[in-house]
Amino acid sequence: MRKFLDAGRQAGFREADLRRLRLESVEWQGGAGEAVTFRRGTSHTVALRGFRDHGFPVGGCVSMPTLKEVRRVYRELQRVGVTGTGTGFSDLLPDAARKVPLSIHDPRISEAESLGEEMDSRISELMIRQSGIELAGWRLRAEERKVNVANTRGLEAKYRKTLFSLTLRLRDGDREVEVEEQRTHWLQLQPDRLLGRAVFLLGPRSGRNPPRWRSVGLVLSPFASASVLRDFAAALRVSGEYSPGDIRCAPQVQIIDSPLVDGMPGSVPMDDEGVMARETPLVEGGRFKARVTDLAGAAREGCPITGNGFRGIADPFPRAGFTNLCIRPSVISLERMLKETGRGILITRLRLRGASGTDRTYGAEGYLFKGTELGEPVRFALRTAFLSYFLKIDRVSRESVPTVSGGISVISPYLRVEALRRGDEWVV
């Protein structure tokens, strides 16, 4: 590592940093009546950057590099000349690491090759109990990541992380749902819980339009809430269209980016730039407080560093990404929330139908409820926008459910919002 960084300095860069990723993965994929596909792979890449006094750094990524190859890449990168007139941000590179107590590695990864068979039989057994629902496919992936991060300012740090992912695709007639669960420990992956979630999301085969009330209390399930949060997540990243302080939110809503939750898929002790992980409050006390950022974004926008610069396997440059996006639960139970609402709709699933500016239109599915009694199934169109959605959340439950939505790890409780009817759709 040190020699690689020295090669950067020798090529004429002021500072250099790198991330080495060694990834071992096994994966099984099966479906109804199909033979199981097994995949095993080993990846070893080094992503590096070279910083000059001015401008943006240059970056490279190579497979299993030798010192000779790294020198060649740095020389090649040096040939582009000046990369901008703005001030460089090499001063923001961290110069030291500290130990973070975080449980994200499961030694059972060493038995990974036997896990597929175990999961196949567990899923087959669980599917016997589901009448009328067909398993269209399943996928299990187990991986171990060994990450080293270093830079010429003195940082040298490493960590190991395991990740187990199970995906189920279920079908009920022409309705299909795909659900995914990710955990860092094998025993926390529960196929029965995931199957239950899939059946819940599939919901009833039919649903009518809800009664034409003028307004209604909507209770969003954690999965529905995660769908909206995923769609609005871009605004919580650096370069989003709103600045901290601009936006008012309901005081009940607290959203944090939390990399320090044991066992959760987004948890890491540091990001790919070596910035130590910390909790970042994004929405707090009725205000939009901060956005997650990588170092380049922090330098460009002059905002605080949050430690959210992450690279893909072969990406030379990190980008701002979330770790675990959490809506902080309150002390109110779901039961009390439903009772307080009186009558309304419990939304189980939201599917994005369209977007225009910050407006989003969803196809919503759920059940009418009166008190704590669920009634008949309903389907309707729900429209909301970033500014109004977070302002109109008036209740947050204490039951928090982790889920993965669009590749983002989201932990959300049940949320209540008030919706008004506009023609055929409900607007929040």
Partner: protein, 423 residues
Amino acid sequence: MIAMAQHRIVMAEETLVQRIEVDSWGNRKLSLTRRAGAVERSLQRGESVQWREAESFEKAAAEADLHGGKSAGSRLPPPLDPGLTMRQQRPLLEALASLDLDQWTMVIRSFRQHRLVRGRSGAEHNVVHCHEGLHLRGRILPGDREIEVGEGRLPGESFNRDGLLQRLRGVVENRRRARPFNGSLSLPVVLAAGDGGIIWHELMGHSLEGDHVLSGDSPLSPDDIGRRVMSQEVTLSARCETDPFLSRKLRDDEGETCRHHRLIEDGVLRRFICDGSTGKRLGVPERGHARQESFDRPVLPRMFALYLRPGKASFEDVLGSVRRGIYAAEFGLGRVLFRKGRFAFYIPSAFLIENGRLGPPLGPVMVQGDLKTAFRAVSMVGDDFRLDRGISFCHKRGQVLHVRVGQPTVRVDGLTVSPGVAE
């Protein structure tokens, strides 16, 4: 020994990607990615795959016991010279800066990939894919949806900078002068020649892919072979002799060639798009369409290209046949919901057609419809066949691949057109 070879496919790969990005804040980003690796697939009793990263193509080939890779380096054209490339595009950057956009980005991406494949027959084949793309992106106002135009080329060729700028100006003008309409209308849509072929790639091409047919997602089934599934005017082919990006003896990632290219002939379904295993499971002889983004991703049956063959009507005849409709000039992303039999397409730049003539700009529109209805709704096919501009990319199960499309001007009836955008 021969029996063993029939169930094993081995591949070594080296990919070099260079990316140069210049933006309106004065940043220049340069990145260089070089990956090499090998993958071995055993197709006995299900599929067992093992892949591994390697230091170089030669090492990957040696580890995979492939022998034809000794001259690997010489098979790929030299990488771009970043300094020279930047100097060459300076006039474009100056022109971009003069467009009065809120922000803009220019991206040049060079892709070079060499693969050595030993397929079922045991023979080794070298496969080379090269592509260079220039993309201009920008926002007219803060918070607007980004506009984008681009062009692809083969290494050694030059970009049509003037043409690109003219297109970008056209899209900006279209957006600025747009007279958007309210609500959704059922109107005839005329798809521009060339890039408009991406619609048939999404709608019909993916419906023809063997994995979608096997899973029941596709609206087509093996029973449809020999039946009319599209309008009689439509002939879809997987090859075009004049396409410079695809050689005539193109091999897929299993080392196979596609022998018969006509997929739809005069509206009649002739064959599906298959790799070796989906072809076998469908009970059809077709293969030659196995593709994977890189050695560490699974092989899927996918298109290299899809062309809608020219018809007999002139461009003026096609346009003149429409009393009131939409002319789709640029094409964005599309989404097909197979199980619902619906699709939606984003058209970043559209014009109204009034009494057979191009009318005022409409800005961006969404075109939606029912898959099976759209297949049979092609009412006119022009004689002005054009290849796309070389920047069509296909996303499937997280893998992004360069594809080719082409078509003449085409009129499609009965689609729902609405203003705005969808994601």
